[in-house]
Amino acid sequence: MPRSSNICTIPERWILDVTTILKRGDDIHEIEWTTRASREWQIFGRFAEAYAAMLKVLIPGVQGKKVTMPIDEGPTYSFFFYAKSEQMYGKICLRYDGKIVIIYSAHKAERDTL
């Protein structure tokens, strides 16, 4: 992965909390999608397919980019994942309460850098 500024190893604690929620996958209150992210992902498959694809890359040591959102709801990282033989761009926030994951982005990667 070409490097850009703010590229870092995503903290293991964040990965553990996020993947625990993504694995459950169907809890009504634990995963929120922005309308934009859901509109972009829907063409690729079911929402659970996004969770499964993200879980494959969200393992300790994975590189990502810390992202600052206009309204800070919790630590947010962008990363690449793969679905339908395509490199996809994902951006996920783990809310400060640690109970809710917000999916800001899940779409085909437009660039090779995060």
């Binding site: 169907d26 809890d27 009504i28 209150h29 995963i31 929120e32 999608w33 922005t34 309308t35 934009r36 859901s38 509109r39 829907q42 063409i43 498959g45 079911r46 929402f47 659970a48 397919e49 499964a52 959102m69 206009p70 309204i71 709801e73 339908k84 917000i102």
Partner: protein, 201 residues
């Protein structure tokens, strides 16, 4: 925009984008209402109920059998998931994911399952394509016996076909006009913009 009983939740318009047959472009767009919560940043957030509505709309507009319908087809046939996956020569994990709604099946697999459901693809024919299915052979026989006269008699040449994709093609060849009529009606019902031209076989 209307308001639902929960004051935090609003019903908003959501564009359901149906992929083209190639799968890489948007073929059609439909607008449905989904429940959403307005977040602090002013954006709407969708959760389980909304996501389920979107997926159901996708299934409906793409003409896909829903996970519930897939399961109903299998249980009506008294097959296990493993047996069903062998019958259509798909991986057991793939079949289970379609039935659980974890993965959206392809339109081609959907056509095969719809044809089975509607009696246009006799299981005895599918069975001839899968040589190792002896453990569920009796189930196929007993089920076929309960059905009305099978519409088409399989031909032995079709036995060399080994994949679902080629099985569908073989079905087109073997079943000729019956299957083509069904296939045309299927396309007509699900994709209004498509025209199924006559095919010579």
């Amino acid at each position: 925009m209307t308001t639902s009983p929960n004051p935090d939740i609003e019903m908003i318009d959501f564009e359901v984008r149906i992929p083209s047959l190639e799968g890489d472009e948007i073929g059609q767009v439909y607008t449905i209402k989904v429940p959403a919560r307005k977040a602090a940043d002013g954006e709407y957030r969708l959760t389980g109920n909304a996501l389920e509505l979107i997926e159901r709309a996708h299934d409906r507009y793409m003409g896909l059998m829903t996970p519930q319908e897939i399961k109903k087809l299998r249980t009506n046939l008294k097959f296990t998931q493993k047996e069903m996956s062998e019958l259509i020569q798909a991986g057991e994990k793939s079949y289970t994911r379609w039935e659980n709604g974890k993965v959206r099946m392809s339109r081609l697999v959907n056509i095969i399952l719809c044809a089975m459901r509607d009696g246009y693809l006799p299981m005895t024919y599918l069975q001839t394509l899968y040589k190792d299915g002896s453990d569920w052979y009796q189930k196929v026989q007993s089920h076929e016996a309960q059905l009305s006269q099978p519409i088409i008699t399989p031909i032995s040449a079709a036995c060399i076909i080994t994949t679902p994709v080629s099985a569908a093609v073989a079905a087109l060849v073997v079943f000729k006009s019956d299957f083509l009529s069904y296939f045309r009606s299927f396309l007509k019902a699900t994709t209004a913009t498509l025209v199924c031209n006559p095919i010579s076989v």
